[in-house]
Every structure is written in structure tokens, then in C-alpha cells.
């Protein structure tokens, strides 16, 4: 009787696996045919010199050696990108969590507020960039107009925002915060899952809002915080569009990010081999950082009580 049950369970599991693979087959085929081939091709091209017209010529590791040892702009673009990631990821987390905490209330019209904060995520990035160019325009932009009393108070020159190499990176990061509503939605969803009984128990013990936030909300939100952290790092290292539209990588290459340089290597220098090598370097950097972050997973992320 027992062996009969075991074999039917095995049969069911097999059937379930087949159905699973069948459902996943479009994606599996897609990743194999449309994903794996270009990925492997780019790996090969990274070991070649290839102007995108003539046939690629194998040159071994030369592209990598040049990038690491004799390409000043490579390091400049790398620093710009690391700077962007280091500031924008923590700032994005804090902004997203803060918004979520503010909007996790049962007051009238809350859904309207939530929609308003999420709305920037559905605006075209080109339109967003142009809008912010107007706002941040140093001479007639609204932001400097609003800040003019502060400038007068401290007797300082108006900030040049994206027009100055010293403030351009921060300007683009601040602009990026406008879309923090995207992560806010994820945080809010997780907050809704936190059992009310925990808050009730805390209230019985006399906990205030800050104590409840620190000891209940934030620990239970760590899975979504961690998810947004990882996604933020990946997205941060790929930053490109906003600089391409707003600053053309300038001024003085201060917003010339890694992905921008990679794009120029391909499109303007016609050096596909070098661009592919850069793509693989970027992939490895992201892999290392993500692996390191995942190792922290068990230590910093609350994954539920062990049974």
C-alpha cells in the first residue's frame, strides 16, 4: 500500500514537472535562442577587434588590458558610476521607505496620494529629463528661484546644478529620486502583509510609532528592502539615459557613466570589441557585488521564524 502511494506520488511529481517545463518552455526557448547566443557572441567579440563592418579579428585579452591599463576615460566613467551607485542606492532606499511609511495610513484620499507618488514612474524618461532641465536651469529655473532667499542669506552664488561638474552628478541623483514611488509600492505591499496583531501587542506594551517602526515594520520589511537594494545596484551601474538626454555626459565628463562610455565605444568609435569587453567587465562587477550582497542575506533579512 505504501509503495503504491509512493509510486503515484512520484508519477504526480513527474507530471507536474512536465507541465512546469511546458509552461516555462516559451521563456526557456527565448533565453536559449535570443539570450544565450548574443551573450556568448559578445563574450567572443570582447576578445576581438571588430568595427561592426569587417569580420572580427581575435586579439586575446588586449581589449581588457587596454581598458585597465591605458584608458583614462574608462576609469573616469567607472568612478562616475560608482559614485552614482554609492549615493543613489541608499538615498533611493531611504526615500522609498520614508514615502511608504508616510503613505501607510488609513486617511481619506490615501489612494490618490499613492497614485501621485507612483505617477512619475509612468512618465517617459525623456519628458522627465526635459522637465527637470527647466526646473534645475541655473538662471531661470524654479528651483534656484525658490532657493534664492537661502543664497542671499548665506551670500552665495546660485548652484549651477547640471551645468557644473561639481554638482552635476548629485543633480541627476536628485532627479532620480522623483521615481522613488516605484519602490514605495513594493514597500507598501509588504507593509500591508505585516500582521496587525504585532502592532496591537506592541501598543499594549506601550510602544510608540517610532518604536513600532524600528522594531516591527522595518525588520519585517527587510526582504523588500533587500530586493530594492539589489535592483538599485544593478540599475545604478547601468545608468545612461538621463545623462544622455540631459548632459551629454558633461560638463567635463562629470556625468559620463560607464554605460555611456560603452555606448560611445560602440556607436562613435565603432569599437565593438572594446564595448563588449566593457559589458563583460560591468557584468562581473555587478555579479561580485550582488553575490556579496546575497551573502549578507541571511544576516540582515528577516525570512520568517524557523519551524
Amino acid at each position: 500500500m505504501k509503495s503504491e502511494n509512493t509510486s503515484s506520488i512520484k508519477k504526480l511529481k513527474k507530471q507536474e514537472n512536465i507541465i512546469g517545463y511546458l509552461f516555462a518552455s516559451p521563456w526557456l526557448l527565448g533565453i536559449t535562442l535570443l539570450g544565450a547566443f548574443p551573450i556568448l557572441a559578445s563574450l567572443y567579440i570582447s576578445f576581438t577587434t571588430y568595427d561592426m563592418i569587417s569580420a572580427p579579428t581575435f586579439i586575446g585579452l588586449k581589449n581588457y588590458i587596454i581598458l585597465f591599463t591605458n584608458d583614462t576615460i574608462f576609469w573616469k566613467s567607472m568612478w562616475n558610476t560608482v559614485y552614482h551607485v554609492m549615493i543613489s542606492v541608499p538615498l533611493g532606499l531611504v526615500t522609498g521607505i520614508s514615502l511608504a511609511l508616510l503613505l501607510n495610513n488609513k486617511i481619506k484620499g490615501m489612494s490618490v496620494y499613492r497614485t501621485m507618488f507612483y505617477l512619475p514612474n509612468v512618465v517617459s524618461i525623456v519628458a522627465m529629463a526635459l522637465l527637470w532641465m527647466w526646473l534645475f536651469q541655473p538662471n531661470f529655473g524654479v528651483i534656484n528661484e525658490l532657493l534664492s532667499p537661502i543664497y542671499k542669506l548665506f551670500n552665495m552664488e546660485p548652484l549651477q546644478w547640471y551645468q557644473s561638474a561639481s554638482t552635476s552628478k548629485i543633480t541627476l541623483i536628485l532627479m532620480g529620486m522623483w521615481t522613488a514611488g516605484g519602490s514605495m509600492v513594493i514597500y507598501l505591499a509588504q507593509m500591508q502583509d505585516i500582521p496587525v496583531s504585532l502592532y496591537e501587542s506592541a501598543e499594549v506594551d506601550g510602544a510608540n510609532w517610532i518604536q513600532k517602526t524600528i522594531h516591527i515594520t522595518l525588520p519585517l520589511m527587510t526582504p523588500s528592502i533587500f530586493f530594492n537594494f539589489i535592483m538599485g545596484i544593478i540599475g545604478g551601474f547601468q545608468v545612461f539615459t538621463i545623462a544622455y538626454i540631459m548632459t551629454n555626459g558633461g560638463p567635463s565628463r562629470s556625468t559620463y557613466y560607464f554605460a555611456y562610455y560603452m555606448f560611445d565605444k560602440m556607436m562613435t568609435d565603432h569599437s565593438m570589441g572594446m564595448a563588449s569587453a566593457m559589458a563583460w567587465i560591468l557584468l562581473i562587477i555587478i555579479l561580485i557585488i550582488t553575490t556579496f550582497a546575497l551573502r549578507l542575506n541571511k544576516r540582515v533579512v528577516y525570512l520568517g521564524e524557523e519551524s
Binding site: 561592426m52 563592418i53 538662471n139 531661470f140 549651477q160 551629454n248 560638463p251 562613435t268 568609435d269
Partner: protein, 435 residues
């Protein structure tokens, strides 16, 4: 219900299939032509008519035109050439034809011309400037033909001149005259520029353009970067000192106001003089401006100045994707000849407002257009920039960051030029080590 649904689906499929049937073109060889007159552009209908006229005259070939905006065109073409999905024929930049020809991406037009005995629209090479055709020549053969003949000139606002009691005789011809006259037009109110006489960084003015006028260049004959002479520094200082009574922040703000408002500073009468190409003539017409203006040669240095301007014309070329049939190649060549014929070049000039490459056709085109006549004279002084394999964008991405730093005062001219030169040398070394 099911029957009704089935009937509807079958009917829609049938109507769709009927709609797809092009009985006039199905037996013709299709030629794809990429141009810069996308749907919605002012030149779209004109370009469509030109293509339709060719199609009406053909029994064997059918040209399908695909228009992209100028800004989208280049990336799309680069990717298409790389992936061997380029159109049969399209426009490109004439200064780097050699790079495409040497890689086998283009058909040898000389061979096609030699084999052409049809007598229809035969290309008369005497109708095209040798200086342009030299750029389209690789190993003695033509791999492209000049399509447009872009030129740059000094546009000046005659009404503003008259307002200050100046006449056409006062139009500057040298750098020192330019500065003296320009300063008369400046209007600054509360620290904000309301009107500017001239700025050597506005419009189509470029550092390499000014260098050429001073008999200098970015590269020597071996394509090694120069930029390290006192002459280069002097030209840069002239640019920096031109509006030294104004701050760079004021000039940048003034320029950005125009950009953000989508205004051409000359067409909107915010500058008295500007360097512009022949396209500015059309821009002024399109903007509905009513002021009087004229064009002249770009002022040259007071001593040993060279009358020259940056051309940057388009080429027309046939792309070799490696799988084209003989009929496609022949049909494309017939269309190329058609586009380069006198009548069509005239039509193209009317449609786009460009100065085309056909010399006689342009003589006719400018007959009743005094400003265009002067621009056409400047075409003979136009020069294209050299193609540098290790830095194809030497005048753009590679140069602009240093130029901006110098203009903003972050680097002195000597420091900025030295840094730019070091970058070119690094690129040259890296390129040579893998090619």
C-alpha cells in the same frame, strides 16, 4: 453565434489580405531607400513625390522610401550596416566614406558607371565638385557620390545693422572687425543678455573651423594630433576673449534660453550675426521671420587668414549586404542615377532647402534667391573634416569635454589643448595596438 464569429474572422482576414496586395508592385524588384524626411516633416510629401515619380517611370523596380529624423538616422544606419540589414541605398556622411568602402559595406560605383550603357540619367562627373568626390574615392574608385553640398557662412541681420547706421559695407571680413562691429549690438539688462552681437561658439561655429581659417588643424598629414602650438592657443584665446566683457555663465544662460525655448537665436533676432549652414536659410523661412538679413563669408584672421568653411555634406551610397540580387543592385543604381540627375537634384533642393551637389542644377535653383546665391559661392570654399580611424568623433565626443572646460575657465587653453591632445594620443596608441 459561433458561425457569426467565424464569418467575421474570415471576412477580416480576406479584407486584410486584399489590402496587402500591391498588384502594381508585386512583380517588381523592391529597393529600400533611407532618407531624412520622416512622416510629419515639412519635406515628407516632397520626398514622397520624388520617389513616386521614379516608381511611375519603372516597369522593373519599385522604391520604398523610409524616412528617419536626422537625430535617429545615424545610429539606425550604423546598426543596420553592422547587421547587414542596411537599405539598398541611403544617405551618409561624405567624410568617412572610405571607412565603409574599405570594409566592403559599399558597392563600387565606378564599376557600375563603367558598365552603364543605358543612356538614361547617366552621371556626369563634371557636374560634381572634385573636392567632394575625393572624399568618396577609395583606391581610385568612387564608392559614393556627393549628395548635398553643405556650407557655412556668416548670417547678419540687416535691420539691426541699419538701426545702428551701419550698411553692408560694414559687414566684417576680419576677426578684429567682427569683434568691433559685434560689440555695438550687445544689449545687457540687469546682468541678463537681451541681445548679442556675435559669439564664436554659437550656431555652427566650431574650434576646428576657426583653426582652419588660421591655417591650422587638429591633425597633421599623418593624422597625428597637433593642438600643441602657440597658434592653437592663440585661436582659443581669441574665442575666449571675444565676449570677455560678459561672463561664461551669462553666455551659457543666453544660449540655453534659446535651446530650451526651441529658438534659433538668429531667426528669433536675439543675435545680430551668427555662423550658420545653408539649412539656416530654410529655418528662417520656416520660422516665419520677416526681418532683412544677408550672408557673407565667415571673417578670417587679420593676417594670413584662409577663406575656408566646414562643409560636412551628405553622400549617397549603395549598401552591400552580401545577399543582394543583381536586379536589386541594378535597380538601386538606376535610382541613384535618378536622384543625382539635374531635375531631381533641383526638386530635392526645393523640398529640403539643402544645397545639393549637382552644380548646374544649383545654379538654376539659386537664380531668384540672392541669399542662396551667396551661399552657393561659399560652397567652393567648403572643406570636409578628415576621417581619423582612431577617433571618428574627434570633433564631437572626443573634443567637446575639453572645449567646455576651457570655455568655462576650468582649464587654461594650454592645459585644455594638452589634455585633448593626450587623449587623442592615447586613443591612437590603443587603436594601433589592436589594428
Amino acid at each position: 453565434m459561433k458561425k457569426l464569429l467565424l464569418f467575421l474572422v474570415v471576412s477580416m482576414v480576406a479584407v486584410g489580405l486584399l489590402g496587402c496586395d500591391k498588384d502594381t508592385t508585386s512583380d517588381k524588384t523592391e529597393i529600400i531607400f533611407w532618407h531624412m524626411s520622416p512622416v510629419g516633416s515639412e519635406s515628407y510629401s516632397g520626398m514622397k513625390t520624388i520617389i513616386a515619380d521614379f516608381n511611375d517611370s519603372q516597369d522593373l523596380y519599385y522604391v520604398k522610401g523610409v524616412g528617419f529624423s536626422f537625430w535617429d538616422y545615424w545610429d539606425k544606419l550604423s546598426v543596420a550596416i553592422a547587421s547587414r540589414t542596411a537599405p539598398n541605398i541611403g544617405l551618409s556622411t561624405i567624410d568617412d566614406v572610405v571607412s565603409r568602402a574599405s570594409s566592403g559595406a559599399l558597392y563600387d560605383l565606378s564599376t557600375l558607371m563603367d558598365a552603364d550603357t543605358s543612356g538614361v540619367n547617366t552621371i556626369d562627373l563634371n557636374e560634381f565638385r572634385q573636392s567632394q568626390m575625393d572624399f568618396a574615392t577609395y583606391e581610385g574608385d568612387l564608392y559614393a557620390m556627393p549628395f548635398t553640398a553643405t556650407t557655412r557662412a556668416l548670417y547678419y541681420n540687416l535691420d539691426m545693422f541699419e538701426e545702428l547706421g551701419l550698411t553692408e559695407a560694414d559687414v566684417p571680413t576680419t576677426w578684429s572687425e567682427l569683434k568691433t562691429i559685434a560689440k555695438m549690438f550687445d544689449v545687457v539688462e540687469n546682468g541678463e543678455i537681451k541681445r548679442l552681437g556675435f559669439d564664436p561658439t554659437y550656431g555652427d561655429a566650431t574650434y576646428h573651423g576657426w583653426l582652419w581659417e588660421a591655417g591650422l588643424d587638429f591633425f597633421d598629414d599623418n593624422l597625428d594630433p597637433t593642438l600643441n602650438t602657440q597658434g592653437h592657443i592663440d585661436v582659443m584665446n581669441w574665442i575666449l576673449d571675444f565676449n570677455d566683457d560678459l561672463t561664461r555663465a551669462q553666455l551659457t544662460a543666453f544660449g540655453e534660453e534659446n535651446t530650451l525655448l526651441g529658438l534659433n537665436p538668429f531667426a528669433s533676432e536675439r543675435v545680430a550675426m551668427i555662423i550658420g549652414n545653408d539649412g539656416l536659410y530654410q529655418t528662417i523661412i520656416n520660422s516665419g521671420a520677416t526681418f532683412n538679413y544677408d550672408v557673407a563669408m565667415i571673417p578670417i584672421p587679420d593676417e594670413n587668414g584662409v577663406h575656408v568653411n566646414w562643409g560636412s555634406g551628405f553622400s549617397i551610397e549603395m549598401y552591400n549586404n552580401g545577399n543582394d540580387t543583381d536586379a536589386e543592385v541594378q535597380g538601386t543604381y538606376e535610382f541613384l542615377k535618378y536622384l543625382l540627375s539635374s531635375d531631381v537634384q533641383l526638386e530635392l533642393a526645393e523640398v529640403n532647402g539643402w544645397i545639393m551637389s549637382h552644380i548646374s542644377a544649383m545654379d538654376i535653383y539659386v537664380e531668384n534667391k540672392p541669399i542662396m546665391q551667396k551661399l552657393l559661392v561659399e560652397v567652393d570654399y567648403a572643406r570636409d573634416k578628415v576621417y581619423v580611424p582612431y577617433a571618428p568623433s574627434w570633433h564631437g565626443n572626443d573634443w567637446q569635454p575639453y572645449y567646455t572646460q576651457i570655455l568655462n575657465g576650468e582649464l587654461t587653453p594650454a592645459e585644455g589643448l594638452a589634455a585633448a591632445r593626450a587623449n587623442y594620443l592615447e586613443k591612437q596608441e590603443n587603436y594601433n595596438s589592436v589594428n
